[in-house]
C-alpha cells in the first residue's frame, strides 16, 4: 500500500535519506547472506535505492519501506544472475548461480525481524583485518552507518574520490580473499572484535576531536560511532569490551558541550562546568560499564578507560574526584596497554592522589621517552607538579617549554600565564 498523499520532491528525498539510514545496514546484510559477496550486495542495495529515488517522489514512501527495498534488490539480483548466465560463463559457475537464484527465490522474507546475526556478520566483514584501517573505517560507515561516500569524505577531510577508491578496493580485497560471511569462531573472536571496536573508537575520536569547524559532518561522527557501538554491544551482549567501549563513548560524549568555551577554546576536564555535562549520557555510560563489570573477569582497556571516565562523571565537583581510584585504574591500564601517554596520565593521577612527589617521580621517568619529546603535555604536567612542590624556577622553565611546543594558541597563552605566575612567587 502506498501513501496517497503526494509530497514534494525535496521532501521525498529527505524522507528517502531517512529510510536509507535506517534500512540500508540490514538490507545490505540480508543481501550479503544471499549473494555471499558484500560488494555485489551493496550494488544491489544501491540499485534499490535508485529505484526508490525514481519512484517514491511520485508514489510516496511505501508502508513498509524496508520490505520494498529488499524485494526490489532481490528482483535486481535475479535479473543480474539471469543476465550473467546468458553470457555463458563457465558451466560450473552457472550451476552455482542457478542454485543461488533458487535460494534467492525461497529466501526467508526479511520482515521476520531476526536480522541481528546478519548485521553482526556484516560488521565483522567491514572490519576484517585483511583491510587497512582506513578501508575498514570507510567501509563500516558506508555499509553500517548508511553514510554516502561524500559524507565520509567530508567527515575525514579527504577528497571524495579517495574514499570511493578505498571502498572499491576494500570490496575487491574482500572478494579476492574469499572472506566468509560469518561471525568469527570463539578462538578468533577476541582479536576480530578488537578490530571492530578499534574502528568504532577511531570514528568516535575523529568526531570528538573536531570541536570546531563549519561542517557538522565531523562532530556527527560521534553519533555514528555511538550508534555502531550500541549495535555491536547489543548483538554481542556477552562481550565486556563491547560494553566497555560504549560506556567510554557515552561518558565522553556527555561532556561535548562543556569542553569548548564560547570562543572555541578547549576547556580541560577539571575546569569544565559540570552542570553542562549530559546526565542522560552519563547514566547510560555508567549502566554500560556496569554491564561490562557484571560479566566478570578483569576489565579490558576500554572498560578501564570507561571506569576512569566514570570516576570523573560521578564527582559532582572536581574536588570530589576519587583520585586514588583513578590511580589504581591507571595502574591496571598501564599493565594491559602500556604507553607513554598512559604513563603520563598515571603521573597526573598519582600527583593528585598521593601528592606531587609521587606524581613527579613517574613523570620524570618519561623525560627521556623519545615519543614524548615534542609532546607539550609532559612539560606542562611536570611544571604543575614542580610548582606544587615550590620549585618555581624549574616549574617556570617547564611551562615555557610546554608553551613553545603546543600548537594551540589559547593553550600557549594559558601556559605562559602559568610561567609568569611562577616567577612572581
Amino acid at each position: 500500500m502506498l501513501q496517497s498523499v503526494a509530497v514534494t520532491t525535496a521532501d521525498a528525498h529527505r524522507a528517502i535519506d531517512a529510510v536509507w539510514r535506517i534500512e540500508s545496514p540490514r538490507l545490505i546484510a540480508g543481501l550479503t547472506r544471499i549473494v555471499r559477496d558484500v560488494g555485489l550486495a551493496e550494488e544491489l542495495a544501491q540499485d534499490a535505492l535508485v529505484a526508490a529515488v525514481e519512484q517514491w517522489p511520485e508514489s510516496g514512501v511505501p508502508d513498509n519501506p524496508g520490505a520494498w527495498l529488499m524485494a526490489t534488490a532481490k528482483h535486481r539480483a535475479i535479473d543480474r544472475l539471469r543476465r550473467d548466465a546468458r553470457l555463458e560463463r563457465k558451466r560450473e559457475e552457472i550451476g552455482r548461480e542457478v542454485e543461488a537464484a533458487q535460494k534467492l527465490a525461497t529466501a526467508v522474507p526479511e520482515s521476520s525481524g531476526d536480522f541481528g546475526d546478519d548485521l553482526l556478520r556484516l560488521v565483522f566483514i567491514a572490519c576484517h583485518p585483511v583491510l587497512s584501517t582506513e578501508a575498514r573505517v570507510a567501509l563500516t560507515l558506508r555499509l553500517l552507518g548508511g553514510l554516502s561516500t561524500d559524507e565520509i569524505a567530508r567527515a575525514f577531510l579527504v577528497p571524495e574520490s579517495t574514499v570511493a577508491q578505498r571502498i572499491v578496493r576494500a570490496k575487491r580485497t574482500l572478494t579476492a580473499a574469499h572472506v566468509p560471511f560469518e561471525v568469527p569462531v570463539a578462538s578468533d573472536l577476541e582479536a576480530r572484535l578488537a578490530s571492530v571496536l578499534e574502528v568504532i573508537y577511531l570514528v568516535f575520536n575523529e568526531g570528538y576531536s573536531a570541536t570546531a569547524g563549519d561542517d557538522w559532518m565531523r562532530p556527527a561522527l560521534c553519533l555514528d560511532a555511538l550508534r555502531l557501538g550500541r549495535l555491536v554491544a547489543d548483538l554481542l551482549p556477552r562481550e565486556p569490551e563491547a560494553h566497555g567501549l560504549v560506556a567510554l563513548m557515552e561518558i565522553q560524549a556527555s561532556r561535548t558541550k562543556a569542553r569548548v568555551g564560547p570562543a572555541g577554546e578547549p576547556i580541560l576536564l577539571l575546569d569544565q562546568n559540570r552542570g553542562q555535562w549530559d546526565q542522560l549520557l552519563i547514566r547510560r555510560g555508567l549502566a554500560a560499564l556496569e554491564r561490562a563489570e557484571a560479566l566478570g573477569g578483569a576489565l579490558g582497556p576500554y572498560a578501564l578507560q570507561a571506569a576512569i571516565a566514570a570516576c570523573h562523571a560521578r564527582a559532582r565537583t572536581a574536588e570530589e574526584t576519587d583520585w586514588a581510584q583513578i590511580a589504581a585504574l591507571y595502574d591496571a591500564l598501564a599493565q594491559l596497554a602500556h604507553s607513554p601517554v598512559v604513563e603520563l596520565n598515571r603521573a597526573v593521577a598519582y600527583g593528585r592522589a598521593f601528592g606531587p612527589t609521587a606524581g613527579l617521580e613517574l613523570a620524570d621517568a618519561l623525560v627521556s621517552e623519545p615519543s614524548l619529546k615534542s609532546y607539550h603535555l609532559l612539560p606542562s604536567v611536570r611544571g604543575d607538579l614542580l610548582a606544587k612542590l615550590g620549585r618555581s624556577d624549574e616549574a617556570r622553565s617547564e611551562f615555557e617549554r610546554a608553551a613553545a611546543l603546543t600548537r594551540n594558541a589559547r593553550e600557549r597563552d594559558l601556559l605562559l600565564e602559568r610561567a609568569a605566575g611562577c616567577s612572581r612567587s
Binding site: 529527505r14 529510510v19 525481524g113 553519533l223 549495535l231
Partner: protein, 111 residues
C-alpha cells in the same frame, strides 16, 4: 538531534490497558530502536497526572484525570537521530503499531 515523541491523544484506547499483542509489537519496536542505537530513553506515563499551575503568584494543584482531548497520555521516547525526517520515520512506525491517535514529535534543545 534529539527528539521527544509522545502521545497526545489515544482516546480510542485511553481507558483500556494495551493488549498483549500490542505490547509484543511495542517490545519489538523498542528492541529495534535500541539495536539501532537511537533510543536514549523511553517510558510509559501513569494515568493520573497532577497539574501544578501558577497564577498571580499563587500555586494551585489539581489532581487528574482531566477530560480535555489533547491530554498527554501513553508514553514517550527520547531518540537521537541525524535528521527530523529520521525521527518522523520512526514516529510513523510507532503509529502503525498503536493504531488511531496522535503523537507529537518535537526537537529537544540542549541535549
Amino acid at each position: 538531534m534529539r527528539f521527544l515523541m509522545y502521545e497526545v491523544d489515544n482516546s480510542a484506547s485511553a481507558n483500556t490497558p494495551p493488549s498483549p499483542a500490542l505490547l509484543a509489537e511495542m517490545g519489538k519496536l523498542i528492541e529495534e530502536t535500541t539495536k539501532a542505537g537511537i533510543l536514549l530513553a523511553t517510558g510509559g506515563l501513569g494515568p493520573n497526572p497532577t497539574r501544578v499551575r501558577t497564577s498571580g503568584g499563587k500555586v494551585a494543584i489539581t489532581d487528574g484525570p482531566f477530560t480535555e482531548a489533547k491530554e498527554l497520555t501513553g508514553g514517550f521516547a527520547l531518540i537521537e537521530v541525524k535528521t527530523k525526517e529520521e525521527a518522523l520515520e520512526w514516529a510513523k512506525r510507532f503509529r502503525k503499531i498503536v493504531g488511531d491517535g496522535e503523537s507529537v514529535v518535537q526537537e529537544v534543545f540542549g541535549g
